[in-house]
């Protein structure tokens, strides 16, 4: 299928930030890797000073389609993903209608194929309508063309312990994983921000850390009890990191994700009452940020997930309590992680590849993503200029969402090129063209 993607000779890229090598990309795969490579008719890309990494895989993206095309579409969201260095995204299930049937997940999958910017892997809802009452047809979604492996009611916690237990048990039948949005609902009724010193002063209803930690503690024990696989979405507290570390030490099959914004921002920003900083789980304290960084560096937290959540401006231009929760993230993730993890000396680019690609592909069971940069592997690659610096301007982004909490910040690192199955979706830091296979996939035909 990937025979029409052309030939590219990438010269002198630092592979995973290490030794420099040439990469010959042909027919969708890395044909050769070495020094002094040449190829007739190849488009030559000078990658001196650039780092070659596996294409990033997001385990947590809200593409909003179907239903909220005023916020984002599969087309705009995946353009943003490509620009941000992604070659695959997991599209969360809280669309309208909810992605709780084979029909909806196949629709999203097909829209992604037709767009051609990245692999779109739909996440299936755990429960019908995200209502937390009965299981959705998980098997039908797993068997569909979308081959769903990750299931989540993200945005809403599967808080009923029996339902969560059954979901964990049931997905074992097709090697699935339940990705839990850990939030005890009674402890967070009306919650607006992290509960602590800042909420006390601002008079905003608190979202206590224990509401996340108690669910994670319960769920790792359930996963152990039924021998299943649990993924914890957007871990946000120091206590959660400790519980997951404990669970991993006991051999429990749990993975965890952290968002870029939780690696950098704190609840002090809420003092502005600017809803661009309103997100769920909320921004926490600096102690939490430091614990999350340490957890990501030591492997307790497996992956970075953006929780990219675009909203129309009217959902943010209002009172804090009225505003929607969520932040965009696809086009800033690499820079924020470089800033928070690499420039602080906590991680190398090889570690970056692990937390943004390899481990994420493994969680989602994506066999052709997150692969080593070696001859014969699928050419899902990015070239990054780690020395670049840029100022975040939400109005220059490909996402329709203008709700970036990093607006106006100067950040390091820029994605220069993204190769998706051998085709450059991004070149010279700008969108190029979608994968040629996309043209053969009419949108709306599942």
């Amino acid at each position: 299928m990937a025979g029409n993607t052309g030939t590219y000779l990438i010269q002198g890229a630092a592979i995973l930030g290490g030794d420099r090598a040439d990469l010959l990309v042909r027919d969708g795969i890395i044909a050769e890797i070495g020094t002094g490579l040449s190829a007739d008719g190849a488009t030559v890309i000078d990658a001196a000073g650039l780092v070659a990494l596996p294409g990033m895989v997001d385990v947590h993206t809200h593409l909003r389609e179907p239903g909220r095309e005023d916020a984002e579409t599969v087309e705009t969201g995946t353009r943003a993903a490509a620009l941000g260095g992604y070659t695959a995204v997991h599209a969360m299930a809280n669309s309208t209608p909810v992605a709780d049937t084979a029909g909806v997940v196949e629709q999203v999958y097909t829209l992604g194929r037709a767009a051609g910017w990245v692999d779109v892997r739909p996440v299936g809802a755990v429960t019908v309508g995200l209502a937390g009452e009965r299981l959705a047809e998980l098997g039908a979604m797993a068997d569909s063309r979308a081959r769903v492996r990750m299931f989540s009611d993200d945005g809403i916690c599967v808080h009923d312990p029996v339902l969560m237990r059954r979901a964990l048990e049931y997905v074992k039948a097709f090697d699935g994983v339940v990705a839990q949005h850990a939030q005890e609902p009674r402890l967070t009724a009306g919650a607006q921000m992290n509960e602590g010193d800042v909420s006390a002063v601002l008079g905003l209803t608190g979202w206590p850390a224990v509401a996340e930690e108690s669910i994670i503690a319960r769920d790792v024990l359930l996963a152990q009890h039924v021998g299943s696989r649990l993924h914890v979405c957007h871990v946000s507290t120091a206590g959660s990191v400790e519980i997951i570390r404990w669970a991993k030490e006991r051999g429990i099959d749990v993975t965890a994700e952290v968002t870029p914004h939780h690696l950098l921002l704190t609840d002090d920003l809420v003092r502005s009452y600017d809803p661009v900083f309103k997100v769920n789980p909320p921004l926490r304290t600096d102690a939490d940020v430091q614990a999350l960084r340490a957890g990501l560096a030591d492997g307790t937290i497996d992956v970075v997930g953006t929780d990219h959540a675009p909203h129309p401006s009217e959902h943010k231009e209002c009172e804090w309590a009225q505003a929607a929760m969520g932040m965009t993230g696809l086009e800033t993730a690499l820079s924020v992680v470089q800033h928070a993890m690499i420039e602080t000396g906590l991680m190398t680019w090889a570690d970056f590849a692990r937390v943004t690609s390899t481990a994420a592909a493994k969680i989602g069971r994506l066999s052709d993503q997150g692969r080593p940069i070696e001859a014969g592997e699928p050419a899902n690659l990015i070239l990054v200029d780690p020395g670049a610096r840029w100022t975040v301007d939400p109005f220059k982004m490909a996402t329709m969402g203008r709700n970036s909490p990093f607006k106006g910040r100067e950040l390091p690192g820029k994605v220069v090129a993204t190769f998706f199955k051998g085709h450059p979706t991004v070149l010279d830091g700008a969108l190029n063209t979608p994968h040629p296979d996309a043209a053969a996939t009419p949108a709306g035909v599942a």
Partner: protein, 341 residues
């Protein structure tokens, strides 16, 4: 002063300037013609997203005594209830030429949004936002306490602060914008504040506030108090497990007849009893306490008009000087510098 959003960012000298100006305004209120021409031709909008007749008429009286034109915009039963956003409402008021907006809102931070955005250019006075702040209430409370404190020391109140005054704020601190504004302002003015409440009605993080915390009202009274401020218990708290029953609340944290007698027994003849109103008689305050000579409830209402006149005057008279050499203690802005005791 461009806006009055919080007492947390009010410097000592600005606070005293407001209180001193309020004294001048109070003098106007005692004249036969209770009106100044200061704000003639200026438009003040009372933008109320939450019912509060008391606060609204207090601001209305204050603006009218300064000869301002007053527009009352009750957001209930208006275009707001038809889904109009705060942004559109603000821009509408701006287009109509509002010079100051007095905003009461159920959402914490709504006045900050008006002040921080370009939706409207008017001065913004926070007339109570959610469970955040109610700065003019704290200022009228401080005004009332300052007069009392000055009278005891035999001086005039002008230019003075509340140094050494011991204040107990009793009740639902968690949900109280009055308590928050009072804690910041009283500390700025040198008073010693003790919060007395059931542990369920204190916010997580209260230990960082510049005040003491007690669960025991009798112990706090026995330790000596110059002003006792009782907070209203909201009806909706009663069924949310914050306390077992209204009777138990009343016994432990209400200012009842026994505690009124205890003030006499303890020899605290000059201790005043305050309440921001409206009172739940028999719940957080007994009828005898509310009606006793110690009660300043009606003086607070009276002083409210003077303080709001001062706030409107200072906001709209174009005097935007920040008195030098005395920056705000910024309790709300820099938690690390907060005293905690």
């Amino acid at each position: 002063m461009k806006h009055l959003l919080s007492t947390g960012d009010l410097s000592r000298s600005n606070a005293i300037r407001i209180l001193d100006t309020a004294e001048e305004m109070a003098a106007v209120g005692e004249r036969e013609v209770k009106k100044l021409p200061a704000l003639r031709g200026r438009t003040v909008v009372n933008l109320f997203f939450e019912d509060s007749t008391r606060t609204r008429i207090s601001f209305e009286a204050a603006a009218k005594r300064l000869s301002a034109d007053v527009i009352n915009f009750a957001a209930k039963g208006s275009s707001v209830s038809k889904g109009e956003s705060l942004k559109d409402t603000a821009q509408t008021l701006s287009a109509m030429g509002a010079d100051a907006v007095v905003i009461r809102h159920w959402a914490s931070g709504a006045p900050h949004r008006l002040a921080a955005t370009d939706w409207i250019d008017a001065g913004v006075i926070n007339a109570g936002d959610g469970t955040h702040e109610h700065p003019t209430q704290a200022l009228l409370d401080a005004f009332t306490m300052r007069r009392h404190w000055a009278r005891l020391s035999g001086t005039g109140s002008e230019g003075t602060d509340l140094k050494g005054l011991r204040v107990a704020i009793v009740g639902d601190v968690l949900h109280s914008r009055v308590a928050r504004s009072n804690v910041w302002l009283l500390r700025t003015l040198g008073a010693e504040v003790t919060l007395v409440a059931p542990p369920t009605l204190l916010p997580v993080g209260v230990d960082k506030w510049p005040c003491s915390v007690s669960y025991d009202l009798d112990q706090t009274l026995a330790g000596g108090v110059d002003a006792i401020m009782m907070l209203r218990v909201q009806g909706e708290r009663m069924n949310a497990s914050f306390f077992p029953s209204t009777r138990e609340y009343s016994r432990r944290w209400g200012f009842d007849d026994n505690r009124l007698r205890a003030l006499d027994d303890l020899g605290m003849t000059d201790t005043i009893i305050m309440h921001p109103g409206p009172m739940n008689r028999g719940l957080e305050i007994s009828a005898a306490a509310a009606d006793s000579p110690r009660s300043t409830v009606l003086a607070q209402v009276r002083n409210g008009v003077s303080v709001r006149m001062a706030a409107l005057y200072l906001l709209l008279s174009g005097d935007t000087r920040e008195p030098a050499a005395d920056r705000a203690p910024a309790y709300a802005a820099a938690p690390s510098t907060k005293e905690s005791n």
